[in-house]
């Protein structure tokens, strides 16, 4: 048992840092800002050019052969540079499904474009009536010759407004147990009958959408795997999606920024620094310590994975604690902002001067919006049910 990084690891770290310094614009760092579709694609393509768009994929499909330690270092440095990973819909979600369950033709058609971000994917899982009880979904796909005719609607579809394709769970057999009648379809968003309606969340963000599907014709060849076996692929995806759900490095980074603000005399003028308030500094330190616990829980899980034990229900712990910590930090940001958390500055043009200091501008919206993290990807209550059943056997 040993914490040291090998010389090889340190060389690798240097390479990551150099790459980020060169490719991730300095003006993107240190501020939460709204990235455009082009920003996302540019960045993904830069990673792709380096061969780092999908480190977790098997090398044969364009992934890397990194050790868990290298993956850890990569994640750490990405967070330090305050960048985001490649497009998760592509690399963490649909990609692994395609290379694991797709046909040779599907792999050939979709994987390169997915890896290169020539397709932007979005996820069609949740429906207005089916949240935690995902398997109760009702979007219907009826076979007609070589096509399915799809009707229904999907919701909470993140960045659907940017997407080219959507991967969808649909019901192909309404007469069997709910998990057994589901299929997994890939749908071109340009197909007639697909419409996207924005959902505006608290604080004014437009990140999620409803996607309506009305008599949408989908070629049968765009079905992944077997008809009615979609639930298997869906669960596989959910397990994969949870990697880095802990978000330790991102949380540490955000907390560090808050510490800097709270330790800066500018915040309180001639008054005592916020960081010297024992109640505030206690919260900061408690979060730091909890982040350390989370980090080592993740490292232990990685180590298990390396030993071939695979990601299991422990990922539910990472999800629960990871999101709780993100939420605690975002509340702390509201505290730091004080009165300047209150002005609503979301729709402000980029040239307007914000009412309060920089750090305060998005604090409240980020806190409000961040409540979703304990809801999506299986609510934290569902995660606890999973642990109760799968680990504790209750």
């Amino acid at each position: 048992m040993d914490l040291a990084f090998s010389a090889k690891d340190e060389t690798f770290r240097r390479e990551v840092i150099d790459f980020l310094d060169e490719n991730w614009p300095a003006e993107y760092r240190g501020r939460k800002r709204d990235f455009t579709r082009e920003n996302y694609i540019d960045w993904h393509k830069k990673l792709h050019a380096k061969g780092w768009a999908a480190p977790a994929w098997p090398a044969e499909y364009g992934g890397t052969d990194w050790t868990p330690t290298q993956k850890y270092i990569f994640g750490q440095e990405m967070a330090n540079a305050e960048t985001f990973p490649s497009l998760a819909f592509n690399t963490s979600m649909v990609g692994p499904v395609i290379y694991t369950f797709g046909s040779a033709a599907q792999k050939q058609r979709f994987l390169p474009q997915t890896l290169a971000c020539d397709i932007w994917w979005c996820q069609g899982y949740s429906e207005p009536g089916s949240g935690s009880d995902l398997a109760s979904l009702r979007t219907k796909a009826v076979r007609e010759g070589d096509h399915y005719i799809v009707n229904g609607s999907k919701t909470w579809t993140t960045l659907a407004q940017h997407a080219d394709w959507i991967f969808c769970l649909v019901r192909t057999d309404p007469d069997v147990k709910k998990q057994q009648g589901i299929s997994f379809l890939l749908i071109d968003m340009k197909t007639p009958g697909v419409t996207v309606r924005p959902i505006i969340t608290l604080g004014g963000d437009h990140e999620v959408n409803e996607v309506f599907l009305e008599d949408v014709k989908v070629p049968v060849e765009n079905r992944i795997g077997e008809e009615n076996q979609g639930w298997t692929y869906a669960k596989f995806l959910l397990l994969h999606e949870r990697s880095n759900i802990a978000g330790v490095h991102q949380s540490r980074r955000y907390l560090k920024r808050l510490k800097d603000v709270a330790a800066d005399q500018e915040l309180s003028g001639s008054g005592p620094k916020l960081m010297d308030d024992p109640d505030f500094s206690r919260k900061v330190s408690e979060i730091e310590i909890d982040l350390t616990a989370l980090e080592f829980t993740e490292l232990r899980a990685l180590s298990n994975e390396e030993a071939g034990k695979g990601p299991g229900a422990e990922s539910s712990i990472l999800k629960i604690r990871g999101t709780e910590l993100q939420q605690r930090i975002s509340h702390l940001a509201v505290e730091v902002a004080g009165y300047y958390a209150m002005p609503f500055q979301r729709n402000q043009g980029h040239n307007e001067y914000p009412a309060g200091p920089e750090h305060s501008v998005h604090a409240a919206a980020r806190y409000f919006n961040g409540r979703k993290t304990s809801i999506y990807g299986g609510t934290n209550e569902i995660q606890r049910n999973i642990i109760a059943k799968a680990i504790l056997g209750l």
């Binding site: 505006i200 001639s270 008054g271 004080g338 409000f368 209550e381």
Partner: protein, 378 residues
């Protein structure tokens, strides 16, 4: 000891509750906040007609009330209805300061507030003050019969829609002295006053007030020169007591919306209200709401009994921080994704409850203030 509302209070409560239910539902409220000014003069006038403004003042000023329990009745309903009209800045804060400092200005302006004619705001915070009311960088220099004010007041509620403001400014001392703070009354259209207005994230209107060599006649100083801090503290505490009542309304409403939602929402073949874990969360929301209610009662009753009770106000504010956070976050969690959209009312209650957590100082601040007030710290 007696915990019953008077007949008048009960009547006021019933009629206000009915009015808000019939004329101020969530849809109506969203229309109001989306309007240019972000408030409704029409509703405001109706509030005045119902006597809500007069209820805040004693009979000498043509009012018919003025106790904290009177205010509690109103603020609880405002909380349930998520009312955005500037009652707290106009009536409780500005009206309270005028009443407390007395004199001609009080005689002139309180009736105008009571009739609904006058809208006001109170600028007490500054960009660097955080929650310290004595941290005043804004300067007021005497120049013959005038004062010249320069500085910036931060996040002044109702500023962009107010006719007049009261601001704290320093007539002597250095910027964190407790002595040397005075209160000034000014028209928002006075030369040198610039108001950068904005909606707040919870649907109210506020603005930063920039004072650039603003000339104010000395008669517009209210209260004694340099001695304003105790007055400000007293009135902010009264506002905290009122806010506690609002919070009890907001929390109550979030509990109701959540129970309703959970009873209607089905997952895994049953209403989610049948899941024991969610039931217990709702029970804990309910308990937090009952505690908020108890502390709003406590603070109002003690303030009425003692005139000014710092420990009562600060402890109610600590409770507010705890109850609003727990009830708000739980309400969103139990609503699932829907709770985070702008479409459902519950999210708006949550945003308002979050802003209430820090208004007039957050829980950490008031816990320490409670300790000072009770002698646990110096």
């Amino acid at each position: 000891m007696n915990f019953e509302f008077s007949e008048e209070q009960q009547m006021l409560r019933d009629s206000l509750s009915r009015f808000l239910r019939d004329k101020y539902d969530f849809e109506e409220r969203q229309k109001i906040i989306a309007s240019d000014d972000g408030w409704s003069r029409e509703k405001w006038n109706q509030f005045a007609e119902m006597g809500l403004m007069a209820a805040a003042f004693p009979e000498d000023y043509d009012g018919f009330g003025g106790t904290s329990v009177d205010l509690m009745v109103i603020m609880e309903e405002f909380g349930k209805g998520l009312v955005v009209e500037p009652y707290l800045p106009t009536v409780v804060l500005s009206g309270g300061l005028l009443l407390e400092t007395g004199g001609d200005k009080a005689k002139e302006l309180i009736p105008a507030i009571a009739s609904g004619e006058l809208v006001m705001g109170f600028g007490f915070a500054e960009p660097h003050s955080r929650f310290d009311l004595f941290h005043v960088d804004t300067k007021a220099a005497k120049q013959r019969t005038d004062y010249i004010l320069s500085g910036r007041k931060a996040v002044v509620f109702a500023a962009p829609i107010a006719d007049k403001l009261i601001v704290s400014a320093r007539t002597s001392g250095s910027n964190r002295d407790t002595d040397g703070i005075s209160l000034f009354l000014l028209d928002t259209n006075t030369d040198g006053v610039r108001i950068d207005g904005y909606p707040t994230i919870d649907g109210l209107r506020a603005g930063d007030v920039y004072l650039d060599n603003v000339k104010i006649p000395a008669v517009n100083m209210i209260g004694e020169e340099g001695k304003a801090l105790p007055t400000i503290e007293k009135i902010i505490d009264k506002a905290i007591v009122a806010l506690s009542a609002e919070a009890m309304g907001v929390c109550r409403k979030m509990c109701e919306l959540t129970s309703e939602y959970c009873r209607a929402r089905e997952q895994f073949g049953q209403p989610i209200s049948k899941f024991q874990v969610l039931q217990h969360t709702m029970v804990d929301m309910f308990i937090h709401t009952e505690e908020m209610t108890s502390m709003a009662f406590m603070a109002a009753m003690k303030t009425d009994a003692n005139g000014h009770d710092k420990a009562a106000a600060s402890s109610a504010k600590v409770q507010l921080g705890k109850s609003c956070k727990f009830v708000g976050e739980s309400a969103i969690q139990l609503h699932g994704g829907m709770g985070i959209t702008e479409e459902m009312a519950v999210g708006h209650y949550f945003m308002h409850s979050t802003m209430m957590e820090s208004l007039f100082g957050n829980s950490d601040y008031h816990l320490k203030r409670y300790q000072t007030a009770t002698g646990l710290r110096e």
